[in-house]
């Protein structure tokens, strides 16, 4: 039976908001927090609500099952608990790391991290040592590493408060001002009017010296005045680096979901925009996903909830095409388990495909050494579609038979787009659509060549734009090895080609197909 419970992982505003909204929808939840959960528990909607189970100091240790039927194990008070949930939402907060070392500074009472700038107690006599009697506060941001609009907004808010309410002269020293957030350009202009001084560096960087008496001196060449300038701030504030929560690595391992180059969850892939991961029913929101504003975190939380509601209201979403394992032939090599990008293979009792998790990419079927996996229904697969090829092409005629195998996420849409734009595509091309090029096996290709096909062009998504993440990479590796075998049987390897295309490129689709046809025409018939 399908569970109607959600597991939220995280302690912070995003997790709290998620919990609140889900409770409003009357959905049952469990929240697992890796620390003491103080932020979460303090959140009003949760404090006053007893329907959510909260476990603190937990560590997720296992996950099996699929959307609607996840079984999650976690440790809590030296015990392993198991819960059954339909979805998991990860909403761990960032780790903030002040960039002291980037600027060659050590934290002292007058060199502070950004988080403390809001709690600064300004003592008016502090500034008396300065020549003009004003306290000077310098913010350093984005000088060694690119910053982001989230940090810039915090700095501007903090500087604005100090400048307008505490008679402080503030300076913001930066390289690229990360103004690409809603309302920031306006805030920047207003903050300049209050007297905040922005100093931007391009090629050069200021020399930052922390004296023995802990005073900081910032020496730089002023581009406007064209002379060296020295700033001696009473307080120096360094910006923060927003890092992924250290727990995300473990979650990525346990849930077998992708992680990006910076350690945030979700692959950097446009098919994963909003909250989706490579595994159905495991969602990632807000600060576990990328650096973005609080409002965007909340948007994410709401998007996640809509995904869940959507799932609950609909009949089972099963893909039209799914894989099926013939248990009798399976040799338990676990290739399918390792390669399935959507984690749809279950190892409980036998090796089986969890139907509601399978996206039908066919990678497992193409790679299974025991040929134990079939795609169902097979009529919609390559086999089914290539049956018609005999009818479409008469081997006796002198017309060339050319097949384009088009990935339905990209090339097939590009073809449709070409047709909508009324762009001419060469006549006499047989198009086979596949859910993912990763499912094209060597056998498929050889079967087509046996049917006297003169050329096969495989068109996949671009690398890092594959819905099944690795489908196009598998396809490329396979094509390269098949090409070697083609040579061995005396076929020109140029008769099999692979190229990548995006779904919005109709003209390019037509151009690629025409180019391929011309190349095959030069080679002549393979018959």
């Amino acid at each position: 039976m399908e569970s109607k419970k959600i597991l939220i992982i995280g302690n912070g505003r995003c997790a709290s908001k998620l919990a609140e909204k889900l409770m409003n929808e009357g959905i049952e939840l469990t929240v697992a927090v890796s620390d003491d959960g103080s932020d979460l528990i303090a959140f009003p909607a949760i404090k006053d609500n007893t329907s959510a189970e909260i476990f603190t100091n937990t560590k997720i240790t296992g996950c099996t099952g699929s959307i609607g039927h996840y079984s999650i194990k976690f440790s809590h008070n030296n015990q392993i608990h198991t819960i059954y949930v339909s979805h998991v939402i990860v909403a761990e907060e960032y780790l903030r790391a002040p960039n002291f070392s980037h600027y060659g500074l050590l934290p002292t009472e007058n060199v502070l991290p950004l988080e403390m700038s809001r709690q600064l107690k300004i003592n008016p006599t502090d500034g008396e040592s300065s020549s003009d009697g004003n306290i000077k506060i310098a913010f350093l941001t984005g000088l060694s590493k690119e910053s982001n609009p989230v940090i810039l907004e915090e700095i501007m808010d903090s500087a604005l408060d100090l400048q307008s309410n505490h008679h402080v002269q503030t300076y913001i020293l930066t390289n690229n001002l990360k103004i690409a957030g809603n309302g920031l350009e306006k805030k920047y202009r207003e903050s300049k009017e209050t007297g905040i001084i922005y100093i931007k560096f391009t090629e050069n960087r200021p020399e930052i010296i922390q004296e023995k008496d802990k005073k900081v001196r910032i020496i730089f060449f002023d581009d406007v005045l064209c002379e060296n300038f020295e700033l001696q701030p009473d307080i120096t504030i360094v910006d923060d680096n927003l890092l992924p929560s250290p727990g995300l690595k473990n979650l990525s391992d346990i849930f077998r979901i992708s992680i990006d180059n910076n350690g945030f969850l979700q692959a950097d892939n446009i098919h994963r925009l909003t909250g989706f991961t490579n595994r159905r029913g495991i969602l990632v929101t807000g600060p576990s996903k990328k650096i973005q504003t609080q409002i965007e975190h909340m948007t994410d939380a709401e998007n996640g909830i809509l995904t869940i509601i959507n799932h609950y209201y609909r009949d089972k979403l099963k893909n039209e095409i799914t894989a099926e394992i013939n248990t009798g032939s399976c040799v338990h090599c676990l290739t399918c388990y390792r390669l399935c990008p959507h984690q749809a293979i279950s190892l409980e009792t036998n090796v089986t495909v969890m139907q509601e998790a399978c996206e039908g990419c066919g990678i497992c079927a193409a790679e299974c050494p025991a040929i134990a996996i079939k795609m169902e229904p097979d009529t919609s697969g390559i086999e089914g579609q290539s049956e018609n090829i005999n009818m479409a092409f008469d081997p006796a005629s002198d017309m060339l038979s050319i097949v384009v195998i088009a990935c339905s996420c990209s090339a097939l849409r590009a073809k449709e787009s070409a047709e909508n734009m009324e762009i001419e595509i060469s006549k006499g091309i047989h198009i086979i659509s596949v859910p993912c090029a990763g499912g094209i096996s060597a056998e498929h290709i050889f079967t087509l060549f046996k049917k006297m096909v003169d050329g096969i062009l495989i068109m996949t998504c671009h690398e890092e734009n594959c819905f099944s993440e690795t489908g196009n990479i598998h396809a490329r590796i396979r094509v390269n090895s098949i090409k070697q075998k083609l040579k061995a049987i005396g076929l020109n390897e140029a008769r099999l080609q692979i190229t990548s295309i995006a779904s919005n490129m109709g003209t390019l689709f037509a151009a690629e197909v025409n180019r391929f046809k011309e190349e095959i025409q030069k080679l002549g018939s393979a018959k």
Partner: protein, 347 residues
């Protein structure tokens, strides 16, 4: 079997924002009617080209084709092409009146309306860059179109590949003389990716950027940034003006921030990175709907909540703020969620 709910949501504008909201609501079982001004759906995103080089660079442009397909095929979605709103009346339900280009009038009743009418790319004619006079001064949107339709980069004057190209950033954005006090957010990422594509297609191309600040481009910007500084010349200045010299070459004058001198330099193609500005029709539409605009002329949604000043009327996407495709998608979904909440609780 699809669930059916006897409630209707009208979406003004079938760009990526409107289509995303439509598909979410339709999946949940609501009836959705899209009122689209032009003769096709997809909005600006369908005009953008793919900028993948050896890998996808995550511009998001190809995401729209999927949404278009859903909108055309979903039984709960009805599209009225070539139609504009003429007025609304609040009663038991919201009555929405519209007419098509042949002036045929129609009306529909709905429980909620989402404004997703998008943006207007800045028209640079008023800037001293000779956009309307010199053939080889083009906008970033025109360059997108060229590559999408012809798969190559050519100078409009003689259809030969340009050798020396300048990108001018922030055209129509961050400009106090126009009172455009916003960053469009998309023109840095888009032009940086475009320049990267040009260099891949045409390895010798000499590319310069005139800019104020570079904004982050995608999830892995730090890495991309390193590439940029290796491959493109960056000049931190916005050009004063552009003149045409012989052979349709362009003389760009600017104040060099390194030498502190005014300079002129010759380019053979200048690309103006035009920003996102509010639609001219926003004022009229807001009056018809009885809702507020922000001081800059976008639809006001109370600190980005998706709700306007009038119950039952929501706004999403670039109609409210400058934003890219990814944010437009989330904005569309979020607003769909707000509509669902409203129809359950508020009604």
């Amino acid at each position: 079997m699809e669930r059916m709910i006897d409630q209707n949501v009208i979406i003004l504008g079938g760009g990526i924002t409107g289509l995303t909201a439509a598909s979410e609501l339709a999946h949940l079982g609501y009836h959705v009617e899209i009122i689209e001004k032009s003769e096709s759906i997809g909005g600006h995103a369908v005009r953008l080209t793919c900028k993948a080089t050896e890998k996808c660079v995550k511009c998001g442009a190809c995401k729209v084709d999927e949404k278009i397909q859903i909108a055309h095929s979903h039984i709960n979605i009805n599209i009225h092409m070539g139609c504009t709103l003429t007025g609304i009346k609040n009663g038991e339900r919201i009555s929405v009146y519209y007419r098509n280009q042949q002036d045929r009038k129609s009306s529909s009743n709905a429980e909620a309306v989402i404004i997703a009418t998008g943006f207007h790319p800045f028209n640079p004619e008023t800037k001293p860059y000779g956009y309307d006079r010199f053939k080889n001064v083009i906008t970033s949107l025109e360059l997108e179109k060229r590559i999408k339709e012809h798969n190559d980069i050519k100078k409009p004057s003689d259809l030969t590949p340009p050798e020396k190209i300048a990108f001018v950033q922030c055209v129509g954005s961050r400009d106090s003389s126009l009172n455009h006090l916003w960053c469009s957010k998309i023109c840095c990422p888009s032009s940086l990716r475009m320049a990267h594509l040009i260099q891949t297609k045409q390895p010798g191309a000499d590319i310069s950027f005139f800019y104020i600040d570079f904004q982050n481009c995608g999830k892995d910007y730090q890495q991309f940034q390193t590439t940029i500084h290796k491959n493109f010349r960056t000049i931190r200045a916005i050009p004063g003006d552009i003149l045409q010299t012989k052979n349709n070459h362009l003389e760009v004058s600017f104040f060099d921030p390194v030498d502190h001198k005014a300079k002129e330099e010759i380019f053979d193609l200048v690309v103006l990175s035009v920003g996102i500005t509010p639609n001219q029709g926003n004022r009229d539409l807001s009056e018809k709907l009885g809702i507020n605009l922000t001081e800059f002329g976008f639809f006001d949604t109370h600190n980005q909540t998706g709700m306007t000043s009038k119950a039952g009327i929501f706004a999403a996407g670039t109609a409210c703020h400058p934003m890219g495709i990814e944010e437009s998608l989330s904005s569309g979904i979020k607003t769909a969620f707000r509509v669902v909440e409203y129809l359950k609780n508020g009604k």
